[in-house]
């Protein structure tokens, strides 16, 4: 994607290795240095196409640093500066400079600031020679224009590059205006009208009507071209990630429509990115919970059991006046053990790891009933394939969330929970008879649907929500059955 050139930067040619404190002011400095470096490298080994050389005659402006959302392996190893400069022929060019992550991390690490993960990766720094590789690719030309200007952080996505700006909106406006003015001029020249030195009323009327026509024509034509731009601006003011139905969906081919299309595409990419990073955070959280629950069980729980047993033993031998006291302490240890067990169970149900998904879902169902919730009917279809541990956790958490909703929000009295194999998928369905949700689009956040979706996306699953007010809600999760699937 980026590798049109690969060069080695000699040691000591740039300032990037120097400590740069991790502050806003110094990020500016870092940007400047990335720009210098990019320029230097491009000068030494210009891009193959001649017109791109123009890039290096101007100061290189760095418009973005550390873009996330690149291909994973690129992202892991590198930080990316997105640069642009102006060509002598007036065209702008964007470039992508890929720097090894170590370069930047080294800079930050030496400053002593930065997040823990920087420090962690920074350990590699000392063993790394300062010479490093720098790649850049040159993006398609763009016209520098403020109105539709460069978004601050063009995503470099799977398309392999981005159109940095809309190439022809400016010309379109010029052409439309020019055409209308030409038409007006021609009309003036060819029609038998003339304007006296002292303007007559009839002449004034013709002029005004003509002018009005020109304006209306111009406005109509420009509206078609620029209308979508306004819509994009309006949408941008209110858009939130994590929803659906916020796409502009402009039709036609003009530059405005194209802007709307790329805006939609950008939203999709952002949404995608948000979902991925959220799913990753959820997975990390799940792993951490697992670890803590394990620790609680294996260490704290065992120690408290020892205390409990020891106190019981002591009680039998202690004089009568100490026994009451000892029993009090023992009850307290028991309460502690109960708490530890409860917390561990809330963090991560051990039953999922020890006895599998069926048992865990059954335990969920009996828990709901035990806490005075609705009665839950379970159906497990035959021929369910064995699912991976990650998938099982997702299915379990989605079921948990859906049941919580049924109890907390829906006032349900009956819930059906089923796990079935449908074609190449395993489907979990939680259907309640509660009061339902009026507008499934707006109540996403309240019902935790977003969290379920993000979790599901981690394993390639999909969550759907069906609801009719007064007639209950159905949450359906579909996950791929996987390949290891001999029936469990």
């Amino acid at each position: 994607m980026l590798g049109s050139n690969q060069l080695d930067v000699e040691q000591g040619r740039t300032h990037l290795g120097q400590p740069v404190p991790h502050r806003r002011r110094d990020v500016t400095e870092l940007r400047r240095q990335v720009g210098l470096e990019a320029r230097e490298v491009m000068l030494r080994d210009p891009p193959p196409r001649r017109r791109h050389r123009a890039l290096v005659h101007e100061p290189v402006e760095v418009v973005g640093l550390e873009r996330p959302g690149l291909d994973t392996d690129v992202q892991e190893q590198t930080h990316v500066g997105i640069v642009r400069g102006a060509c002598t022929d007036g065209d702008g060019h964007g470039g992508v400079v890929v720097l090894p992550a170590r370069t930047m991390l080294a800079t930050r690490h030496q400053s002593g600031g930065g997040a823990a993960e920087l420090g962690k990766r920074g350990r590699h720094v000392s063993s790394q020679p300062p010479g490093r590789r720098l790649q850049y690719g040159v993006l398609p030309p763009f016209r520098a224009e403020k109105a539709t200007g460069l978004p601050d952080g063009p995503a470099v996505g799977e398309a392999g590059g981005v159109r940095l700006t809309n190439p022809s909106l400016y010309w379109k406006v010029c052409v439309i205006n020019g055409a209308v003015l030409c038409a007006g001029t021609l009309a003036l020249m060819l029609s038998p009208v003339s304007v006296s030195r002292r303007v007559l009323l009839s002449e004034a009327v013709v002029l005004v009507v003509g002018l009005a026509l020109v304006l209306v024509l111009n406005a109509t034509l420009l509206r078609r071209a620029l209308g979508p731009v306004d819509r994009v601006i309006r949408e941008m003011a209110t858009v939130r990630l994590g929803g659906v139905g916020q796409r502009i969906q402009a039709s036609g081919k003009g530059p405005g429509a194209e802007l709307a299309h790329s805006y939609d595409a950008m939203l999709d990419r952002l949404e995608n990115e948000r979902q991925t990073s959220n799913a990753r955070a959820l997975a990390a959280q799940e792993a951490e919970r697992h670890r803590i629950a394990q620790e609680l069980h294996d260490q704290v729980g065992q120690s408290l059991t020892v205390v409990l047993l020891g106190l019981k033993q002591l009680e039998a031998q202690a004089p009568q006046d100490l026994r009451d006291e000892l029993e009090l302490v023992r009850e307290s240890a028991r309460a502690g053990l109960d708490d530890v067990r409860r917390v561990a169970r809330e963090l991560r149900p051990g039953v999922l790891d020890d006895l599998g998904l069926h048992a865990a879902l059954a335990a969920l169902a009996t828990d709901v009933a035990a806490r005075g919730g609705p009665s839950v009917r379970r159906t497990f279809g035959p021929g369910l394939p064995a699912l991976s541990p990650e998938t099982e956790v997702v299915v379990y958490r989605v079921a948990q969330e859906a049941l919580t909703n049924a109890i907390r929000h829906a006032n349900a009295t009956k819930v059906d929970l089923s796990l079935l194999r449908v074609g190449p998928h395993v489907t979990l369905e939680v259907r309640d008879d509660g009061r339902g949700i009026a507008d499934t689009a707006t109540e996403h956040t309240g019902t935790g649907l977003l969290g379920m979706r993000d979790r599901a996306s981690l394993i390639g699953g999909q969550v759907e929500l069906f609801s009719t007010p007064g007639r209950g809600t159905t949450v359906r999760l579909r996950v791929p059955a996987g390949h290891e699937g001999d029936p469990a």
Binding site: L309, K312, R334, G350, V351, D354, A370
Partner: protein, 214 residues
């Protein structure tokens, strides 16, 4: 004299359990293992009447060991020790051949009576599972399904309701101002009236009620 094998990966827990058991004149710990595999191996050499297995052990868990042990000819009785307050574990343990399940948070109170119940051939039902069973029974009663004929005394009826609310024996004893021993006796009576005094009945019930997979 009841000979006992004790398996838990935590040496201090083993020691504590052993001390509690050996306070009783008729209980004796004759072997100790630190994981399931060791317990299974030891049982080939030592004759025991009762094996007490912790569920969470490295190498081979207590549940896996219980399955191995129950497959032998003339297996000893098996009692599971666990941190997990979850009837799924209880019924799974029964399915694999254990006759009782003791929560670690009440191990100091319940272990000895669980040992004796296991040796008598009765199931030792831990309070959480008892609650699930009784709730299911009351549910079916409410739906008008056919349930085992029961004639409970008024006192047993009171105990039944409190058990269904998930109360522990201790709480029930306090509420009804009777001794814990009496509560336990009532509980055992209720179970036997519901026809669930032994492992096989309980397992069959749990499968029928959908509490565990067959």
């Amino acid at each position: 004299m009841i000979r006992i094998l004790l398996a838990d990966d935590h040496a201090l827990v083993r020691r504590g359990v052993r001390l509690i058991l050996e306070q009783q004149p008729d209980l004796q710990v004759v072997a100790e293992a630190s994981d399931g595999a060791e317990a299974v191996a030891l049982l080939r050499e030592v004759d025991v009447d009762l094996a007490i297995l912790d569920i969470a052990m490295p190498t081979m868990t207590g549940l896996q060991a219980a399955r191995e042990i129950a497959r032998r000819r003339e297996p000893p009785r098996i009692l599971m020790l666990s941190m997990h307050d979850n009837e799924q574990y209880f019924f799974e343990a029964l399915k694999l051949g254990a006759s009782g399940y003791v929560l670690k948070s009440v191990v100091d109170e319940d272990l000895v009576s669980a040992c004796r119940a296991a040796i008598r051939g009765e199931a030792f039902v831990y309070p959480g599972a008892m609650g699930a069973i009784v709730r299911d029974y009351l549910d079916r009663l409410a739906r008008g399904e056919r349930v085992p004929e029961t004639v409970l005394t008024p006192r047993e009826d009171e105990v039944l309701k409190l058990v269904a609310e998930g109360r522990s024996s201790k709480e029930i004893a306090r509420i009804l101002s009777i001794s814990i021993k009496t509560v336990e006796k009532h509980r055992a009576n209720i179970l036997s009236r519901l026809g669930m005094s032994d492992r096989t009945h309980l397992t069959r019930y749990a499968i029928r009620a959908g509490l565990i997979e067959p």
